[in-house]
Assembly symmetry: C3
Homo-oligomer: 258 residues x 3
């Protein structure tokens, strides 16, 4: 039983396909991660080993963390940059094999840091899916200047194609910082018209995960898209906070949700 | 014995009524919280389970954390927003009962997110006190626009009334961020004239807890009001840092305290 | 074995004299610190007990942390402000004795918060070295206004003299925040010309540790000075991240390193 059951706002239970939360693990120790999951796992759906962080962590700790996250009904997965590193090194097959050995059943495919074409990206998504992976893909460039070159129309076109190719979710890039990238301006404010355009043109709204690392961004999405919006790059410190925002249990959304 | 006893600046020991530190727990796991308290509990007086975070945490973990904090001579309490949620749901009695069951001996009463009148707030403070709770109350609105509507004179009047009604401490709102709210401007700088006005008109200076989440705010208060100012919304990472600021053991206050 | 060995960029192993990482411990609990080191110790060379934080921590926890860090082939040391506090209190001898008792084999000598003259600082560096300590020294003032008074030429002169006197490394001050101090402007951007001047005039480039608490600062140094630059005041959360930046495993440096 939770602390104050009579104040809980009904939410879909895990495993769920809406209102999902993707958390960014930048390199938590095993015991710290376990302590955190004991209190917050009900509110975590995906757990991303950020960018290439799993390259340099000891395999035994990775295996232990992956297993532990799975025991809590969380899907751990490798960040998109890791796939891109393997692609650049012509080692994609080895990457798939090794991810599997470490226990990962899900991976992210992106082209945010390399010039991998969208056509090839689609092929990799299909290939990963054929190998049995749960695939997430991400649209957007990590370099703000390059990111701005992607038109909105183009962005949504890619998102739809990637979903069609087999991505379970498509992630809208915002990095760890959440400023001056994708749908966020230099101050980190969401550009409402761009969000709306994406929503109006995506094949399935529920397949989007919006990266929203900052609290105000999380509040924006919950107030405008509802408690069941899927959000990503949530810091390990803010898991419980985000869930209170979703449930109207924090000042920012209290009394403002349906 | 501490690491370098000969450099310690004498401070009141716990339990104390001045120079208190209130820490904000946003959802720490039990083991992480315990590890932190082992090294820093001497410098923590109050531990707030922030806003509605305790609604969605497992009751067993809450009970264990509450017990653990008490073992370290810390007063754990429920954030004001939790009371307000219960008030909005006409469940205040159930809230008192449940807080007690979970082991809380202290609670915060606020009206920062609801339109609970100050007259009714006073009644709830009295009621909580009659039930045996140690009561903290908070003055200020979480919405900056609404917060600005409270005049200074009015603000201090409420603070005095709440203390008279039985609040052990009255908290000056600054939220987790500390910007553009209460006595802090958009950059997070304290408005010295407002601080002075409050100090000049409060019935008992030692009953104020100033929320001061940012380091520069903590330095401001210690330099201007002294080591024995009571501060709140201290992040779990900054407990030791704040104590070094209080004792002149960090560059910002070194050699600048009496 | 690491997670994805085939993507690792070769780096000097510990103990090393280049590409060192100095981490700032602001008061971690023992178990949390241990959990963190289990996953990241390969990427940590120095561990600083920041400013006067070790004054107020329990001696048993300090001893346990110092021992644990050493077991992981990390050099724990006391922050410069601690030495300065002892100097101000005419207790330098007692400080040396007590540091030794607690297990510290390394200490930092600075004059960032006091008016200790550079001539006397040199004497203390020699004295500490004669006592068998591994000595780090720091150049710069914690007060931005005073820090600006130190000319670049003067700054490098002191650095060279301190290295000659026996400092193993000389640290360029940036504090925990990294803004408006030393080589960083108000926004935290590095002043390239000042960095270049220091590099051109230092007796040994590899003896510098640049404090670079912010991610963009770390990226700047790695892109401009290479993976083997030594960086300091890295937060405990960013240890793994910094190593991925060094190895080109994060978007910011991916494909941009030799």
């Amino acid at each position: 039983m939770k602390g104050f059951e009579f104040l809980i706002k009904e939410r879909e239970n895990k495993p769920r396909d809406i209102g999902m939360t993707m958390v960014l693990d930048k390199g938590l120790g095993y015991e710290s991660a376990k302590s955190l999951m004991e209190i917050s796992a009900d509110y975590v759906d995906y757990l991303k080993f950020g960018w290439g962080t799993s390259v340099i962590q000891d395999e035994n700790i990775i295996k232990a963390k992956v297993e532990m996250y799975k025991d809590f009904q969380i899907i751990p997965y490798t960040g998109g940059t890791l796939f891109e590193l393997a692609y650049m090194n012509n080692n994609v097959d080895l990457f798939f094999k090794r991810a599997n050995e470490l226990g990962f059943e899900a991976i992210e495919i992106s082209n945010g840091s390399t010039d991998l074409s969208y056509a090839d990206k689609i092929e990799y998504i299909k290939q990963a899916k054929d190998l049995g992976f749960h695939v997430l893909s991400e649209v957007g460039k990590k370099n703000p200047a390059l990111d701005k070159d992607i038109g909105l129309e183009e962005r949504v076109k890619y998102m739809n194609e990637e979903l069609k190719a087999g991505s379970s979710k498509v992630i809208v890039e915002a990095r760890e910082g959440g400023k001056n990238i994708g749908i966020f301006d230099k101050s980190g404010n969401a550009k409402a018209d761009e969000v709306d355009y994406i929503l109006d043109n995506i094949s399935d709204k529920n397949k989007i995960i919006w990266e929203a690392p900052q609290k105000d961004q999380q509040v924006y999405f919950v107030l405008n898209l509802g408690s069941d919006v899927s959000l990503g790059n949530i810091s390990t410190e803010d898991i419980i906070s985000l869930e209170t925002i979703r449930q109207g249990l924090r000042g920012d959304t209290l009394g403002k949700l349906d």
